[in-house]
Symmetry: C2
Subunit: 283 residues, 2 copies
Amino acid sequence: MRQIAEPQRLRALCEEQRAQHRRVGLVPTMGFLHEGHLSLVRRARGLADFVVVTIFVNPTQFSPSEDLDRYPNDLIGDLAKLEAVGADCVFVPTRDAIYPAGFSSHVMVEGLTDVLCGASRGPGHFQGVCTVVTKLLNMVGPCSAVFGEKDYQQLRVIQRMAQDLDLPVEVVGAPTVREPDGLALSSRNAYLSPDQRQAATCLYRALQAVRARIERGGGTLSAAEAIGLAREIIEAAPEARIDYVDVRHAHTLEPLETVVVGQTVLALAVFVGRTRLIDNLTL
Amino acid sequence: MRQIAEPQRLRALCEEQRAQHRRVGLVPTMGFLHEGHLSLVRRARGLADFVVVTIFVNPTQFSPSEDLDRYPNDLIGDLAKLEAVGADCVFVPTRDAIYPAGFSSHVMVEGLTDVLCGASRGPGHFQGVCTVVTKLLNMVGPCSAVFGEKDYQQLRVIQRMAQDLDLPVEVVGAPTVREPDGLALSSRNAYLSPDQRQAATCLYRALQAVRARIERGGGTLSAAEAIGLAREIIEAAPEARIDYVDVRHAHTLEPLETVVVGQTVLALAVFVGRTRLIDNLTL
């Protein structure tokens, strides 16, 4: 597995692959890799001949009040996991290599980014995501780029951006990987105390309760009832504080009055202690 | 010469070229082509094996008060000129093909776009330019893209954007082509009455007067003196109304107190009647 820090070397290596008609795949990450990330690499492995994983904690997608400075990292562990799962190249740039002095360009998606995490984390969050993903796509030139469905809105925003800007890439979503008790894998789970870890199952339990209610109701449920049920379960968990619980159209993220089976996403963001966790379920 | 209207066909054709290791060149235009545009195509011809010229009057870079609806066009004439000058492909998309329903992504460059035409045409102008150029670059995948130096700020903004976003392209500037009396070629010159056409030489005369004053002064001149001299000449021309006359650093576009030979651009925007003309000179 090649380990690269310089953007120019990454670009040259990927150009070489493409010149040999090898399909390049990309998995952008912020490191501290878990089984969720590795499932993305395996997915990319099935789509491409040469899989590039990037590890970069992108400062521009964090607001000043967020956890940029304490975001967990374990580069040695990450490299071993990527080697084991069959990545061909890992790109670990410095901040200065990604944002050199004078950097002043941005990519943004309107509309889709006004709600959910865009509303709660601020307008800079998805602008930061879109800009860094555009840069990585342009450096690597992949046929496919794989993102986790746990970051549901991020996936939709990047798909919209790729379509709008004619980026020559297929943006692929891969299913959320969960702990045995349902908690979605996340690097931020490392912040949780044992009691908080226990409480954090409230997100998954809320999603499942809404699903069960819909099944019992023969497929119909109002958005208000779905939100109310989810809130009730989350609010009963110790140390849990709701950031948002929302029912949205699965593609446009527009608000819905009623759950439309197959076209609806139930999206949650919950602080457990100081740790912000997200999860979602397509109903 | 291939004539293409659909983005997907353009992308497929350019991919085919690249797969055969042919270098692709791009010249984006808004049509109503003159010798200035054709000089860009010739320049691209020297840099690439397959030259794509695009003709698209991009609505998002016009403010509501500008001349989008009366922008001149002559597609039949343009095609003949491009054929004659050796373009390989011309792409003439509809507005809906470039901006389909639901389009909501944008690319922008901060700082560089706050001054000169960015200040006078409004913040949407360069955002519109950056977004459409990003799309065209992503569709075509060129090694080089050629832009005229007459649109000096546009060239600098696009170079900045390409560098910041790691676009895999060389953004090349080509010199302004002029009428025998010095007027810079522009599609908008077609708007001028014979008297206005005469008056429009004031832009070039102002640039040359400043250059002559610097040469006489042994290379030194304050920005205020340069601006004053240029304004005097332009204000003496009938029907001429200054939009801006400015002395800026040639790369950062930051304001300068003194002309620094080799690092200074004198940039002009002047309304002659209702027609807005721009010109510049690197001092």
